[in-house]
Symmetry: C2
Subunit: 420 residues, 2 copies
């Protein structure tokens, strides 16, 4: 693999903001990902944010007028620069991301700096935003596959680390201007914020422009969060859906753990590529359901292997039984050398392909910095993958695949039986 | 814009297969899109395919053992080459697409050539595939936003050009081996098939390898389809969903029409960028719904502007009224010069960005060839966009925006009132 690491640039500004950038030769686009530590986990009950939704409402509020532009002018200015953009509150971060032509990068960053540092936050925008967020919560009820994963994370991770960013109907209905301003005032802060930029960029100029745009952002103390246990480990949500959704989670090694690639390998071998175990056993051999997968996700201090299937009521019990049996088999019998080879080929290939997109590259730079405080070069990842052995991955599966640590959630007309 | 056109290569083989390829300097990946004229429109009632679903079932069947490999070996071989791939039946085509590292492109193409020319099509695979396709149809019932668009196309386009590829429960339940083999035998043919390839490729070698891999594919006559009117123009599907889905379609200019970019402009100005009319009126000002958009889609002989919104029952009538009023306003008052500028900036930017992805480039090559019999260079698109005037686009909107040509479909607990 070629060495991209040499071109990665990084700088920490006096207020704590970190800029990580990678010029990509031969591309005309440039993209950025701004990760602000203003996710739903930072909604504080004492500030009137009990029912959730503040992070999502504020992520919308900051787009509705900022700096010298009113709400409509902000969106029009971005459209006129040909910027495709998204503003999303997640559990840990609020992520602002954008892609455009390299020559429009700095003008786009200027608009985002206004949103983050100088949002108008007019009271008159609150009711339309509230209506929008309530609509979003209702549309989740018509999207049971997404809903069950939100609710699985809520049960699996300790509070507040599994909190769904859309909030609840009660929360969104009651949030007022004071609570929203309080959230903005404490959670939007340069310390812990990471700006990843990739594509057609000129590093010295970018660094100067980011300094100019973000230097007025005043540091604020890091909020202290109280962690509390969650659960239940087994649960069912009654909904009159056509299909039953099955979602389960197991603990896994975090990105910054030496076991990280073992955890990724186990998730992939269970359900991350087209000949993986869940696809073969659930989908191909038995035709039990169309959509089934396993994936890996990590926060800084906890990570999970998630597995999901959506199937009809008459096949749901068998689908769940097969899924649980595959989880147990991984822990008991480990993995085959061929599966490890397949996993390695897939991950290397997808990593190299992701290097070619300025958008996914900017996101990877910000994410790497969040987890590791540095960017992991491809060569290093490649060496880590090559060093994996079937024995080590099997040992890992035996340690983490304990079904008593499993969180299992189903959603549909009737509950299922879960052994163990 | 730079001139990519000089590097585009094309070749038509004696059996009718067309190869269109573009080497992309500086990338390590390569991707292909194989468009076979074997979409759901080619399911023939006389062959036992009355209820639909044959194209989808056959697209799955060909992956389950091909050439010297059994079902599992096909998927494992692709995974071992690090190939991310998808096999989808659509209305017009069955699309087989894949992305991997350039050095694995030809080995991946070999496996796909086996699938297309030498699928095993074992009878024993039919029941698991049927179960899978029935599951897919049931999951559509839990995904009302996708379902309403399928059903809108079915009503808007004449039969068979709006036929949903997943078929119906009755159709999928009754298809037998004879009907499926008959579909494969008539619809999978080299004439009308287009292979688009982009990325790290060596053209002379690619051309030779594609010749070797596909030269045994025997030409077959083009099936003749009977077109018949569809409708109804106004319809409601009763479902106990949380939200009401609203979908509407208007005729538009096809990709090969001189009016093409006027049609694209009108769709974008209605709902294709973040400051577009529907976002402003429905989402931002009134908070009526979270998800609303307009888009353009084309077949060779017909095209449509689609608009969609999903909203709660108490806001659905107002949402529909605003959408219809925006459609009428476009036809009556035309567009503003600033809107045209915004649309131009967005489309140019997204076209240039799409050039940087081997996957989206391979798909664009195949699609351009399908519509035009050639690949349209970026410079030409850019010149066409620059030549658009507010007057010409407004005239176009007045011609195409006739509400009497509108197809309107809603899905939810109760119907809405539609004026006109």
């Amino acid at each position: 693999m070629s060495d991209f690491a040499a071109t990665i640039q990084q700088h920490e500004f006096p207020n704590g903001l970190v800029l990580v950038a990678e010029p990509m030769p031969g591309v005309q686009s440039a993209a950025f990902t701004l990760l602000i530590p203003a996710g739903a986990a930072y909604e504080v009950v004492d500030d009137g944010c009990a029912g959730g939704g503040a992070a999502t409402m504020v992520a919308e509020w900051i787009t509705r007028g900022a700096g010298t532009r009113d709400s409509r002018e902000v969106l029009t200015a971005l459209d006129n620069l040909g910027v495709s953009h998204a503003e999303n509150a997640q559990t840990l971060h609020t992520s602002l991301s954008a892609a455009t032509l390299g020559r429009n990068l700095v003008p786009a960053l200027e608009i985002f700096a206004d949103m983050v540092l100088r949002p108008h936050c007019d009271d008159s925008e609150i009711e339309p935003i509230r209506a929008l967020c309530l609509q979003n919560l209702r549309s989740l009820e018509d999207d049971p596959g997404t809903k069950v994963i939100y609710e699985l994370r809520r049960r699996h991770f300790p509070e507040p680390w599994g909190r769904p960013s859309p909030g609840t109907v009660e929360g969104v209905s009651t949030l007022d201007a004071r609570a929203l301003r309080s959230f903005y005032g404490t959670a939007y802060r340069p310390g812990g914020t990471i700006l990843g930029v990739a594509g057609a960029i000129d590093w010295p100029r970018l660094k100067d422009e980011v300094a100019r745009l973000f230097e007025d952002w005043k540091p604020r103390p890091e909020p202290r969060l109280k962690e509390s246990p969650r659960g239940p480990r087994r649960d069912h949500i009654v909904r009159e859906t056509q299909q039953i959704q099955i979602a389960l989670a197991l603990p896994s090694a975090t990105v910054n753990s030496p076991d990280h690639y073992r955890g990724r390998a186990v998730a992939a071998i269970l359900g991350g590529f087209s000949s993986a175990r869940l696809f073969t056993e659930v989908r191909e051999k038995r035709g039990l359901c169309y959509s089934v997968y396993a994936s890996y996700e990590s926060q800084r201090d906890r990570a999970a292997l998630l597995a999901f299937a959506g199937t009809s009521t008459d096949r749901a019990q068998q689908t769940l039984d097969v899924m649980l049996s595959e989880v147990r088999r991984l822990g008991r019998d480990g993995i085959e050398p061929e599966e490890l080879e397949t996993m390695r080929a897939g991950l290397k290939s997808s990593l190299i392909m992701a290097q070619e997109s300025s958008m996914s590259r900017s996101s990877a730079l910000a994410s790497d910095w969040y987890f590791l405080g540095r960017v992991r070069p491809l060569d290093e990842i490649s060496a880590e993958l090559d060093a994996l052995t079937p024995g080590a991955v099997s040992d890992y599966a035996a340690r983490y695949g304990d079904p008593s640590d499993l969180t299992l959630l189903t959603l549909g007309p009737t509950p299922l039986q879960s052994a163990g």
